[in-house]
């Protein structure tokens, strides 16, 4: 059994790719990697295209080694990974939509993001005119006596992002759920091409509004990797502070919202007060409630002053006073537990197969956290635990969030205690010739991956992979055999991003 590193040596290594290696493979090697993914020794981190190349990022489950395998496909076809490894399916459908590269023997060749409304096909490849007529989207069939379908969306009843859910139910019980997404596709990777690094950072920060810090963080790290830039210590630590504040705000909001979907509004009312406190502290400290456009390649644009420190400290002190009573309330309310315990189970095997990140993975026994492995500063210098549970139900996903709130509080305090002084930013120059960089950053939802190639001062290609790509399909599995009325609850416990995966 060759290791991931051995495999890479069989391919042609690309220089100027940091911090992990990239190698150009032949079809044989590509297929071997696909079969290893299917066997479960390795996990898929990403699969993306260029006009005549496909790339796949892989992480070795045991060693946390990471590598990118690339395959040139001048004939516009390449061997399907999804054929062996279902988590790749939607990614391959997307590569076809955007680039016109077709995965041979792809078991599901329906479009994914392309709804035939862009007036072009293959917008990032060799563009051709759109099809003159649209065929209706073929939802997958479910057969049996007395089954009925329920179609929901793209416009939902609440204030949430647009997507379509097609339920097939037998009475109250969901037999099959199929998602159709792509409604919020904005063509972000298209806008990235040829953009300056500054504009790239702005776009990256708008991939998914609730993860604006994590995306700006990941994008900036990828640029810095490509250019081999060292960021000042103070910026390294402040970035982590921003990321933990973002995680705190989102988890607090989510815990409340999940309870609200179980008709327990009291929790939401209290959790949202805590969330608002975090946002106000962030506003005082960084001039923006969501901390948007603060992290940029090279460092940060805004320093934390004493006023800001005090605001954050006050919030960090207040949450441990208020939050435990809410946790107790959650844990001791039978009507609430009745809805969350045993509902929407994701098995450990599925979470592992899909390499599900964040609370979805960690509630189903997958301990992966990019802050730990591969890890990045300043986290290797900080004390924190990565909570893991095995139940895989809504309740477990709530508990992971609760534990992560506690961890983020501790992390934010540690950062403030030890915040180094010094400069905040280094200039980002343009290097001659193409340079490639990659980064993994732990967003509140899980691992966000950014891969990019810079050429001169411009972005030649940038791919941003949201954790939701590998979580959405698990929601389809989780809802099976549950009742339709539990869908909002399950859905909220996942809280997948629409905009992040639609891009």
């Amino acid at each position: 059994m060759p290791s991931l590193i051995d495999l890479m040596q069989e391919g042609r290594t690309i220089q100027q790719h940091s911090p992990w290696p990239r190698a150009v493979a032949d079809a044989h090697l590509w297929n071997f990697a696909a079969s290893e993914l299917a066997q479960g020794r390795w996990s898929l981190l990403g699969l993306w295209g260029e006009p005549s190349t496909v790339h796949m990022a892989i992480i070795d489950r045991d060693t946390a080694d990471i590598a990118v395998v690339s395959l040139d496909c001048p004939d516009r076809v390449y061997p399907s990974v999804g054929k062996y490894h279902p988590p790749a399916l939607r990614l391959e459908r997307t590569i076809n939509d955007l680039f016109g590269l077709f995965a041979q023997d792809l078991p599901d060749s329906r479009p994914w993001l392309d709804q035939n409304r862009w007036s072009v096909r293959f917008p990032l490849g060799d563009r051709i005119s759109a099809l003159s007529t649209t065929a209706p989207y073929r939802f997958l069939a479910a057969e049996g006596d007395g089954l009925h379908q329920i179609a929901v969306g793209p416009v939902h009843a609440g204030i949430i992002e647009p997507g379509h859910f097609r339920f097939t139910a037998s009475g109250e019980t969901v037999v099959r759920l199929e998602q159709r997404l792509g409604y919020t596709h904005k063509g972000i990777e298209g806008l990235m091409r040829g953009a300056s690094v500054e504009r790239g950072a702005q776009l990256a920060g708008r991939v998914s509004g609730d993860s604006t810090v994590a995306y700006a963080y990941a994008f900036s790290k990828a640029v810095e990797a490509a250019l081999q830039l060292a960021v000042p210590d103070r910026a390294v630590w402040l970035r982590a502070l921003l990321a933990e504040l973002e995680r705190l705000a989102n988890h607090l909001g989510d815990i409340g919202a999940i309870c609200n979907d179980a008709s327990f509004g009291l929790m939401q009312a209290h959790c949202n007060v805590l969330r608002e406190d975090v946002l106000r502290a962030a506003n005082t400290a960084f001039g923006h409630r969501l901390m948007r456009d603060v992290i940029v390649p090279g460092g940060l644009v805004r320093d934390l002053d004493e006023n800001g420190q005090a605001a954050i400290r006050a919030t960090l002190d207040n949450i441990p006073v208020r939050f435990p009573a809410l946790v107790e309330l959650y844990d001791n309310t039978a009507s609430l537990q009745d809805r969350t315990v045993g509902t929407g189970v994701v098995t450990a095997a599925l979470a592992k197969q899909y390499a599900a990140g964040g609370y979805v993975g960690r509630a189903s026994g997958r301990a992966f956290d990019t802050r730990r492995a591969p890890g990045y500063p300043p986290y290797d210098d900080l004390r924190f635990e990565v909570p893991v549970l095995d139940e895989g139900d809504v309740n477990a996903r709530v508990w992971i969030r609760i534990r992560e709130v506690e961890q983020s509080l501790s992390l934010a305090n540690q950062i403030l205690d030890r915040l180094p002084g010094g400069p905040l930013r280094v200039p980002v120059g343009a290097a001659a010739g193409p340079r490639e960089g990659m980064a993994l950053v732990e967003g509140f939802r899980g691992d966000i991956m950014v891969w990019l190639r810079l050429d001169g001062g411009r972005i030649d290609r940038c791919h941003l992979r949201d954790p939701s790509w590998f979580q959405w399909p698990l929601l389809e599995a989780a809802i099976e055999d549950n009742i339709v009325a539990d869908f909002p609850l399950c859905n909220k416990s996942f809280n997948c991003s629409y905009s992040g995966q639609d891009l």
Binding site: P154, G190, Q202, R206, S499
Partner: protein, 178 residues
């Protein structure tokens, strides 16, 4: 739960004047809003929110209007589940081509009289997504817009101010028609 409810009983409400940072006090704004809403629409204003392709940042701040600090429901402003119950459509995002049809249909499902409020820089002209093959660029390209509330995303106080401006304007229009 009893303990928490009991505590809430004695603790002052969270709802408060805006933090010192904000130039306008939430209370003041809200009182004005309430007067205007009553004048124009009786006791309530029902809003149907539509994400027409936003990054979800605008939604987060619209959500925040419901938290205990802003508590918009106390002024009769409610977010409703169906466009058929709505007075106002609050639309975010650069209107993706994939959402254009859904936005149009929602607009037509909303009874007259209705107002459209475009929230966020994207909803104004596509924001930083303008020019993409996948976006239309601005809500007014698809449905008539009565008011833009700028920001990326606009904070809750700004959204409240925007609603007030809308109500003031529609009230004036109503007087001039009458």
């Amino acid at each position: 739960m009893r303990k928490l409810l009991f505590q809430s009983f004695f603790q002052g409400p969270f709802t408060e004047p805006a933090p010192a940072l904000d130039p306008t006090a939430v209370e003041e704004l809200a009182a004005a809003l309430q007067r205007a809403a009553r004048r124009r629409l009786g006791r309530s204003l029902s809003i149907r929110e539509i994400d027409a392709g936003s990054c979800n940042g605008c939604e987060l701040e619209i959500h925040a209007l419901n938290n205990a600090y802003y508590d918009v429901e106390r002024f009769g402003i409610r977010f409703v589940a169906s466009p058929r119950h709505a007075d106002v459509l609050m639309v975010t995002g650069p209107v993706t081509k994939n959402m254009r049809d859904a936005l149009e249909r929602t607009y037509h499902a909303t009874p007259d009289p209705k107002w459209v409020v475009a929230v966020g820089d994207c909803a104004r002209d596509g924001g930083c997504f303008a020019g993409s093959y996948a976006v239309v660029g601005g809500v007014s390209q698809v449905v008539p817009v009565d008011l833009h509330i700028p920001g990326c995303p606009p904070p809750p106080v700004t959204i409240l101010q925007g609603l007030l401006a809308l109500l003031d304007r529609t009230a004036k229009d109503a007087t001039s028609i009458a």
